[in-house]
Symmetry: C4
Subunit: 208 residues, 4 copies
């Protein structure tokens, strides 16, 4: 009888999963900048015009900054999970690959939002991308917890901290997305504010 | 007499080969999204039009998802091999570089398929790419086995599991490609179904 | 009472931060070359024309070389910091992510400068990018020092060496940028000279 | 007196240099494929036309394959050096960064050669790029040898093997480049043959 199947040997290295993830995050975070297009040379005839053209790029730069923040936040979130994992298996690995699919879509969603910043459809696509990231991360965590892949120790406490963080963040993103019924600019402003506070982690927020 | 030749010292680090592979997979998986082009701004005059334009991108998104799955599957496959290797040598390394050549071609094959989805030539190119990946991986495995580069232990059992998986997968891909005699959409649907079942690994499949 | 909050578990791995940084540097340093566009094929009718077209690319190649040097210098600077860190926390991590944001902007600034090499606005944008890199690196260092994340040992001496290096370099860059009041070419020449001497590290400079 | 200068602490980690190198190689090897452009959709009206358009891409695919081989060969060469290093210092690091500059130029040289395959200027640019790679690698090796950065043991034997390999390879590339006086196709054919034999490493070659 043959006990060793392919699924027992695939996807077991946390290090390689972390390396693939760091690579995909690195490319996604850097590709975003390819969408910051130079002003066309023919249209520029002086310093003032160049300065005006650069200022006109402000919404694109805002969208770029927002996505860089988003990817930074989710990179931190995924890293906290992988650090807690003793080993991985193919189910956990595939949930992380689904998460990385969401990461790789981020340059597309960002470009769409920067181009169509006043369209609700673009904003909802962007939000859908963030929702996919959160859902995949939560599923990967639950799967790791269930299959006993975590390091011994603070698993229960960690579980509360990670699940609470994902749910609170996603609730805030969902509220921000809902604001687009009123104005897409309000949505974006709210989401940027949420992300800046996650990144800056002021004292009053660190209780969560 | 001079015993130490260059070929004795080249290509011996499994870690660096793994790092190069993770990097190439990360770039290839993320570059695929560059081909998801935004709808042109001039053509969009309302939410409904933007939504319609996004829905029209469905075949490209499908091709993108299929390739992301494919690369995820082969990343897992290569990782299982490298995990089993104690060391590597220049022949094994060059077979893995040939494998990575196939990986780096994937964004091109995907773009070709997304653009010419109803053309058999495009589908056969895509299938040729998958065949190259499988053949290089099988050759690298056989070479590692022959040259004693594997970790002591379950080599024989591992050998059966890995070779069986590659042959079954390639037989299914070849059948899928053959379906294009009837319809390229049938081919793509079949291949996506195969890949989803490898990724999701349901119970009835895990016997293989 | 619940002591373990998300902020205690996020962003603690120096290795993963180093891996993300290496990835972002690798992509940024390689993407720069995408802006070296081939001469258009239709315009070339002989060897002499191709040679002339390549020589006309000299300013772009110079800007590319300058940015590659800049990124190499800052990669070395960040590496020296990370090597000195025993661990990291989420504040240090986010300051490094801000630094990486500056790194990812570098292909944009470079392209802008290469395209508008005689415009002061472009040169000041480029300098602003370098300033952001220096400021983020200094803040990350100070934060690591204050929070006791450094390895025991030469912290005080290291502190002097790192802070002095960042301040001297930024003072030279600021002087170089100020030269643009006279000529942007003088600015670029001066900055390239500064960077070459950092890279080549001749004897008389190594006292700093 | 202050002994610890910045130059003593910069550029000392072999692991981070290896990680940056793997990243840059991964991006450069994958970016090459971006230059394999799809046939234009409007020009294709049937399977035969698509097949003909793909066959017309043969020279580009050849140039792509040649560059992938070249980068694979130099990746192996650099890896052999870094494996032999116990530590690194800022001079060694900067010579490797110069080497990586040559790596990052490879997509540009390749694109130039693929576009202007019958022009000697393009071929000589490509050869200049290979020469830069070899010269930087040789200088980095000599610098590591002189500064005692190598692991104890087979340094002298390794030195002979590495220097001989670089000189033989560069002599063959130079001969190949010189063939362009007769025909650029002869040059390319000869260089591809040299590279294939380095990659395949047949028995009669392994004496070198």
């Amino acid at each position: 009888m043959n006990r060793l199947t392919y699924n027992h040997i695939a996807g077991q290295s946390v290090e390689r999963l972390a390396a693939l993830s760091d690579g995909i995050f690195a490319v996604a975070m850097t590709l975003l900048v390819l969408d910051l297009r130079n002003p066309a040379r023919e249209a520029i005839h002086g310093e003032a015009q160049l300065w005006a053209a650069l200022r006109a790029m402000a919404p694109q730069v805002l969208a770029y900054l927002m996505s860089f923040l988003t990817l930074g936040i989710f990179w931190n979130g995924q890293q906290a999970q992988l650090n807690a994992c003793e080993r991985t298996d193919r189910h956990i690995t595939w949930l992380h690959i689904a998460f990385l699919f969401g990461v790789s879509l981020m340059p597309f969603s960002t470009r769409l939002l920067a181009e169509f910043i006043q369209y609700r459809v673009a904003l909802l696509c962007y939000w859908g991308n963030i929702l996919l990231l959160g859902a995949a991360l939560l599923a990967a965590w639950r799967c790791a917890l269930r299959s006993g892949a975590l390091k011994a120790g603070t698993a229960a406490e960690l579980d509360r901290a990670i699940v609470r963080r994902i749910l609170i963040a996603q609730a805030l993103y969902a509220f921000g997305a809902a604001l687009c019924a009123w104005s897409t600019y309000a949505s974006i402003g709210f989401i940027v504010a949420v992300q800046l506070s996650f990144a800056l982690a002021p004292r009053w927020l660190s209780r969560f």
